[in-house]
Symmetry: none
Subunit: 128 residues, 4 copies
Amino acid sequence: MAWNFNDNAPIYLQIVSTLKGNIASGAYPPGSRLPSVRDLAMEAGVNPNTMQRALAELERSGLVNSQRTAGRFITQDAEALTRLRRSMSEQIISELFARLRALGMSDAQILEAVRQRTVRPLNDRLEC
Amino acid sequence: MAWNFNDNAPIYLQIVSTLKGNIASGAYPPGSRLPSVRDLAMEAGVNPNTMQRALAELERSGLVNSQRTAGRFITQDAEALTRLRRSMSEQIISELFARLRALGMSDAQILEAVRQRTVRPLNDRLEC
Amino acid sequence: MAWNFNDNAPIYLQIVSTLKGNIASGAYPPGSRLPSVRDLAMEAGVNPNTMQRALAELERSGLVNSQRTAGRFITQDAEALTRLRRSMSEQIISELFARLRALGMSDAQILEAVRQRTVRPLNDRLEC
Amino acid sequence: MAWNFNDNAPIYLQIVSTLKGNIASGAYPPGSRLPSVRDLAMEAGVNPNTMQRALAELERSGLVNSQRTAGRFITQDAEALTRLRRSMSEQIISELFARLRALGMSDAQILEAVRQRTVRPLNDRLEC
DNA sequence: GTGGTCTAGACCACC
DNA sequence: GTGGTCTAGACCACA
């Protein structure tokens, strides 16, 4: 089952995002070994070179480090993981604000809507 | 310029979402005339029947109404537009919570993060 | 604009029904002259022979009588018109009972439903 | 054996009506499986897409629900079936009133005629 | 020209 | 095999 990509952004960057998500969420726990480039590429349905480029990018940002013979491992640097989560959450929240402002909501309204959502966390979902 | 679709959801539903976004944001103002089915289809790069289906869906939800020979018009029903915006914002916020919880954040942390974003609304954007 | 026929029954009988309806309702008033066979046939979008047969049938039942040179005229026989209306209404009511019984309604329920309809004659129509 | 359609209304809507009748009358019992789209389309003598559209309509009104690979099933929701029967009977009775009023009958006369029909339920049928 | 309907034929995911 | 979606191309009524 190939991952889902759109053609707004380079695929390798979309892969980076997906992998960062998996790392941040703990789906790939700190210190764990990543599957091989070839396996990841097959799983994502992309060319191994594309996956390689994505992993290189991750390595550059310090989230994974490769050990020549043993494979690639998720960093155990707690502070790096914290920075990752913080950065991702800021990006997600930025997107939230962009989308809700496009609907004409003020910051105050946005905050109120989020606050209400925390008050009654599970609720019926309206169709959109 | 064809719109961008992924294959997670039927194209006609993605079109519905796009159009709802345009209506909610006022890009298609209340009472204004939509382009013809054929024009919209060409713009989106889909078959006219697919666009027709999406518009029929919008019509069922009361957001547009068609006048046989004159074209389709955005509803002027303010209450329907309010419901639309409300529904869309709830869906966006639900997505926010789903993504931030996946990062391990609690509702309280999420609320706090959003609150901070409103306090210092424009800020440096960290890379993600 | 051709009349509407289905192919469950001979067209000439459907024409007879239509004409009887027009006579019973007074659309063709007693004593008035019917359009010519040719005109009626054109109006109905059928072959003049078919219309001729329908008119012969009407003549047989005494509702119209032809005067060789002047054309066909609706009967002025009030009793014949009364019988017509009575016969049509019985047929309509028979159909009503057949359809409502098919829905599982008892005669008592049918009567009650009709009674309610007379109490509140104009009402919102539900989709069916 | 193709079903009978007229061209006053879209075929797919006539199919919806026919199927609703079959559901309301119990010809398709609650919980039973409908024939496949292709079979129904062949039976009705229409294109499978047309039948599909009719079934989608039924699904939207909650009378049938489809299970991906297993087929479509009549709802077991007794309340939905009650609503259906009620709505159909109201429509049938409306038609009754329209036709009898066209014959010049008052509401009181209509009610009386229906009442008599319930008193002597089986009777000689007059020709119409 | 507009929206609406219908057909024909294809492909997909699911099991 | 099932339902579901998409495309392509046709026809219609309306004004």
